[in-house]
């Protein structure tokens, strides 16, 4: 068991194999993927692949009749599809944009040297704790057009508040703002983790060079916090395009169809029992998300190599 022997034999083994030969034992074994892959494959992948078949059928859950691409044709004929697509993009862009910008600004503020820092960190994260249903209840009540706290407060200062979630042209934006309220804490925490891992000597060097606060932010913080930015943008964009729980809890896609997004259109079809149609809708939604997110991810990764 002499250390020297062991070491030298390892050296021999290393030299004995040509570099790039596949049978070398990697310290990063692929079987690490295995346990996750089994669960993921059985409970997510398999059902998803099975559902692809059903998107080509008229499916009542009790029987499925093959109808080719009729569901996809029907889905594109949905009267509110165009509005749904537009709403989805607005909602995704608005929520992810605001979460990223506000999250970064809050993270800078909360990693800086200010009074009440600990309390503020806690407060910002607080809404993340409440369930979507709970947030929906509270804001539906507070955004009530006549009795709601928000409009009552506005009235006190002489402003006639709008019907936040009852005005068809405002409902989607109102829900998006609540979504930002609920989700910005998470973005902030991810950004904070990114900022504190920026070595302090970078700031020190920049400061010695006479950089202003503004320059420090743009020249040091923003570029170096990039991995966190990528994470926040990707996650919140996918979330904004795909999730509709808050929309569902607050407006149900209404008034009428004015705050419907693709996901809520699909959900309504699903509830109505049009299972094949809803499955086809899911395939289309996946396509749209991939169309938006994949180029973005590719672009982010390319920039990463440049750096």
């Amino acid at each position: 068991m002499a250390a020297g022997v062991g070491l030298s034999s390892a050296d021999v083994r290393l030299q004995g194999r040509a570099p790039g030969r596949t049978r070398r034992r990697s310290p990063y074994p692929t079987w690490f993927f295995l346990p996750a892959a089994v669960i993921y494959g059985a409970l997510f992948l398999l059902p998803t692949v099975a559902s692809l078949w059903f998107s080509l059928t008229r499916w009542t859950l009790f029987e499925a009749e093959f109808i080719g691409f009729e569901n996809f044709r029907q889905f594109f004929r949905e009267p509110f599809l165009v509005q749904g697509v537009v709403n989805t993009l607005i909602y995704g862009a608005l929520t992810s944009g605001l979460k990223t910008v506000l999250g970064l600004l809050l993270a800078v503020l909360l990693t800086g040297n200010i009074l009440f820092r600990g309390t503020l960190r806690t407060l910002v994260f607080f809404p993340v704790l409440v369930s979507t249903i709970g947030v929906g209840f509270a804001f539906e009540a507070m955004m009530h057009p006549t009795k709601g706290v928000i409009n009552v407060a506005l009235e006190a200062v002489g402003i006639d508040g709008p019907g936040w979630i009852t005005n068809p042209s405002l409902a989607l934006v109102s829900v998006a703002l609540v979504d930002v309220w609920k989700g910005v804490g998470l973005a902030t925490v991810i950004f904070m983790a990114g900022i504190v891992s920026i070595p302090a000597d970078y700031y020190e060097a920049a400061r010695i060079d006479g950089a202003t606060r503004w320059q420090l932010f743009w020249r040091v913080t923003v570029p170096l916090v990039r991995p966190a930015t990528v994470t926040v943008v990707t996650l919140s964009l996918i979330g904004g395009l795909r999730y509709f729980e808050l929309i569902w809890a607050m407006t149900g896609g209404g008034p009428g169809f004015s705050s419907d997004v693709i996901a809520s259109v699909i959900y309504k079809q699903y509830q109505a029992g049009f299972y094949g149609l809803a499955t086809a809708g899911n395939v289309i939604l996946f396509g749209i998300i991939a169309l938006v997110v994949l180029p973005l991810t590719w672009w982010f990764n390319r920039r990463e190599v440049d750096l």
Binding site: A36, I133, A141, S197, L235, F286
Partner: protein, 287 residues
């Protein structure tokens, strides 16, 4: 690098600045983040008639205790059973998620192979594709896991993996590769490197993930609705959902319920809050 202090050096000339910004931020945060919670809490302690007005008026009578008792005892103490079920699901799923996702993220980041593209595609697919409910139920039935707590745990793991892997992968990139190489030269096996060297260093992300995932799983209601039917399997958010119409004319009880189901995530957060900050500064020291 390790000698560097985690905190940025203080800047001397503008002492008033942190105080003003802090106070200003506090005022804004109070309106934006505290007022909605006060609103929920206030409705929860009112009587039924006051609560139906949904305003900030002072309650004409305080009945916090009575509302609390009414909500807890509703439907034969369903809420207590729900607390138990939700806690078991959350703890089980989060523990599995942390270990499995970190393993995937670790190898995914460290090893360059053709498999990476496929794994990344699957991870993104998991984020982007909405789950197919009915086929999933068939799989669960085939495995004998439908309507069971452990089936629910595995579902939450399957659905939470993508997010966790993505986060781990991003943060493992910040851990210098020299650290695992040193351990490997010392003769550590892959599992030992992972559990002894890497996982402890991932503490900041792990804490963040524990908080985020346990809240998400605890607050989830659509998945238990489909995969865990049955009265004895009720979860916390489902009580809220079930009580919604029952309490539709009793907003005080509805908000008391909201308040009560928010408490466990709050405890998790308070418990880990200091660790998030501590963990992040620790990460900064090493990074």
């Amino acid at each position: 690098m390790t000698a560097m202090s985690a905190r940025r050096p203080r800047r001397r000339p503008t002492k008033w600045r942190p105080i003003v910004t802090g106070a200003l931020a506090m005022a804004v945060a109070f309106v934006v983040f505290v007022v909605p919670f006060l609103f929920i809490a206030l409705q929860a302690v009112k009587n039924r008639r006051d609560a139906s007005r949904l305003n900030f008026a002072w309650p004409s009578e305080w009945q916090a205790w009575q509302n609390f008792r009414d909500v807890i005892s509703e439907r034969n103490y369903m809420l207590l059973l729900a607390y138990f079920n939700s806690t078991v699901i959350t703890v089980g799923a989060v523990a599995l998620l942390i270990v499995l996702a970190a393993m995937v993220g670790y190898v995914l980041q460290r090893r360059r192979s053709r498999l990476n593209g496929i794994v990344m595609a699957l991870v993104l697919a998991g984020l982007m594709i909405p789950p197919a409910v009915v086929p999933t139920i068939w799989v669960l039935q085939g495995l004998g896991l439908f309507k069971t707590i452990h089936g629910m745990i595995l579902i939450q793991v399957a659905y939470g993996l993508s997010f966790s892997v993505l986060l781990y992968r991003a943060f493992i990139a910040t851990i210098p590769k020299e650290l695992d190489e040193a351990a490997i030269i010392d003769g550590a096996k892959p599992l030992q490197v992972f559990f002894r060297v890497i996982l402890p260093l991932l503490r900041p992300v792990t804490v963040t993930l524990i908080v985020v995932q346990s809240i998400a799983i605890f607050n989830d209601f659509t998945n238990p609705l489909y995969y865990l039917p049955g009265r004895e399997n009720v979860t916390v958010q489902l009580t809220l959902y079930n009580f919604q119409s029952q309490f539709s004319s009793q907003m005080n009880l509805l908000f008391m319920n909201v308040l009560l189901v928010t408490i466990p995530p709050l405890i998790v957060f308070i418990f880990f809050n200091r660790q998030i900050v501590a963990g992040m500064t620790a990460g900064a020291v090493k990074g």
